[in-house]
Symmetry: C2
Subunit: 436 residues, 2 copies
Amino acid sequence: MSFISTKPPAGFRDFPPELMLLRKKVIRRIEEVFEKYGYDPIDTPALEYWNVLKGKYGEEAEKKLVWRFTDPWSGREYALRYDLTVPLARFIASKGDVPLPFKRYHIGLVWRHEEPQRGRYREFYQCDVDVIGSPYPEADAEIINIILEVMNLFNFEEYTIKVNDRRILKGIFEEYLGIDEPYPVYVIIDKLDKIGLEGVREQLREKVSEEMTSKIEEVISLRGRPFEVLEEVEEKFASNQSVKIGVEHLREIFELINDLSKIFLDLSMVRGLEYYTGPIFETVVSKPRIGSLTGGGRYDELIGMFLGRKIPATGTTIGIERLLDAGIELGLFKLDRKTITQIYIVSLTDKARRESWRLARELRDRGFKVSLDLSRHKQSKQRKYAQKLDIPILIFLGEKELKENTVTVYSRRTGKRVVVSRNELADTLENLLKEL
Amino acid sequence: MSFISTKPPAGFRDFPPELMLLRKKVIRRIEEVFEKYGYDPIDTPALEYWNVLKGKYGEEAEKKLVWRFTDPWSGREYALRYDLTVPLARFIASKGDVPLPFKRYHIGLVWRHEEPQRGRYREFYQCDVDVIGSPYPEADAEIINIILEVMNLFNFEEYTIKVNDRRILKGIFEEYLGIDEPYPVYVIIDKLDKIGLEGVREQLREKVSEEMTSKIEEVISLRGRPFEVLEEVEEKFASNQSVKIGVEHLREIFELINDLSKIFLDLSMVRGLEYYTGPIFETVVSKPRIGSLTGGGRYDELIGMFLGRKIPATGTTIGIERLLDAGIELGLFKLDRKTITQIYIVSLTDKARRESWRLARELRDRGFKVSLDLSRHKQSKQRKYAQKLDIPILIFLGEKELKENTVTVYSRRTGKRVVVSRNELADTLENLLKEL
């Protein structure tokens, strides 16, 4: 057989136990937040027919970023899921009869044909939470409260949630600035964090006049405490009906937010996706520089594309990958466990092996996470193995222990070694594990 | 926009909350078994380069069943993951330095280009548990004990675990029957459950003589209690070294199994995959007729294909999809929850809405799973919604409750309605939830 690369494809990743143990724990805790708010899990296929995804993400995504392929057997065009929102819209349309509002979360892989680079992957998890069926600020506010709760849960401190509204943008850009098709302008403004103000200016100048560029810059410089900026926007632009509706909607959202100190109304935060129709929101951390940790908003037209009748919807993605990366960098998450195993039983002699097997069974029946030698290694090698995996507790079983019906328990963390009877063993282990 | 089908692609499925809640619960409980045995989670990409999968699954799978496609940008050939074993082998080879034995579980999607039909999907979860690095019966026995524990955990009763050994088969087929390349014969025997003995006979006759067909039939009719059949096999065939090694290995496995009453040694159970090299095992239920619930065995050569040096390995797939289907049909699993939500707060008046919002926050902070109206519905519609979702507990907040600082709590299960003070509320709810 010829040489085969053992690396995963470029832009794809393997996850060893230490990463998976952390990921699973973080995901489980996020799910618990969703569940407290009464959100239920759904799942949809990794593959969709291409025509389901077509026309939803804007031209750039469609031409470059969606993983499309033709099935050589059927000739049909498929695409790997690009996000979890379009599949949700298709799901709702296909069910037809779900009680509304439908509150769901969805944690699943998505694929993007990016140029692989540090922190940018071709396959990653998204974690979405959405309310389908309510046009009201209550739904948006609940989503933002969930974001706050997730960020606080993991003790992120220096973060802000930027809020804006596409109807405010639309009113200002169309009426006050006279730009009929503002979406391409949003796409440029959306790059602000990436390319800086000078970069945005440059790209704007290619599309609009120097004067217009200055005016746009003025608009997107509006940002600050939510009610203050709301007032400023209202004063300047609320003669426009679209702006007025947006302002009113945001005001009602702000009144329902659990902690306004984290919220900023920021007119430069426009979101890149085409399908947003109302409030939009994004979470950023000041350190590390990593882009937004969450992103979302209201998309009242998307489901109607499938269903024929309009169903309002709002929600957010929580960027698990960035959340993990940021949390690790900030020391909020620790990659400190190489294994879930709590206890390793060392068989000191061959005669002890059978008893080790029985003991492992007993302890597992009581809920302990137990490993023992499966490779007929000498005791020194067994110990070394437990050490390499950083298993916190070792139990030794040898001639002496068999004779006296005891075991020797060693805590690698404290360095303490005790001989205990088999009757006391479970209590001893529970106490040792509590100390960890 | 032209009409778009809202169905998932043929052979693919959407999972609404009631299915997901069950799936997640079942998967979580299986993970707990793996963890008690000290197995750690890993993950690998959904996509692999095609040459990683090539030559691992046999000709039929490769030609028809692997989802392959050419990336139109790079021209590279990719394939969707066909199982979790080959990616595991690549993973081990790429890490190089994991402490052995490496005990891992992996729950993830795999894709097969099957003809879609009832119970056969193009995308489904596999749930694998494997020991990498031990050539000894202890490793195989631990895997079989895990299977027993999973089956018992869910109260499956009429099931058996069929065990066999590829070395026994090899010895018998090569030496006693003189078949140099027995694998194509295994592929036919593997269809026994699907096409019946007569079907197997027919297909064998196309490959070998009538006489040989009878001889093969005789061999594969050997099945029964493990130690008894072992003796019979030993008596008849153990002059062959390969058979002898297989018999000895199985004997040691059987001695370490927690409950032999479920185990059968069955020479007709051969497994279809090419890469097995030693013990093989499969779990079947007598009802419903659904194929095997688990399947696995030892594959000592597979990792070497990537690594250049041999690393022994053994493990099993637990067929989550079939386990769920069988469990639902047998009444072991119930699809009885439409939502995770425990409590729905009904706002009887507009004035009560703000207080409902506060109350929801309080209860969520105490860990309850709470929903409330996000759609400005009248109270009758709020109640109807809670009823449709089968939410067990309703809390009513109206003028009277606001004035008296009470709430009315209604248990939909018992039909009981009580008025309680806000102080007592959490205790009341906890007690009601315990009763469910």
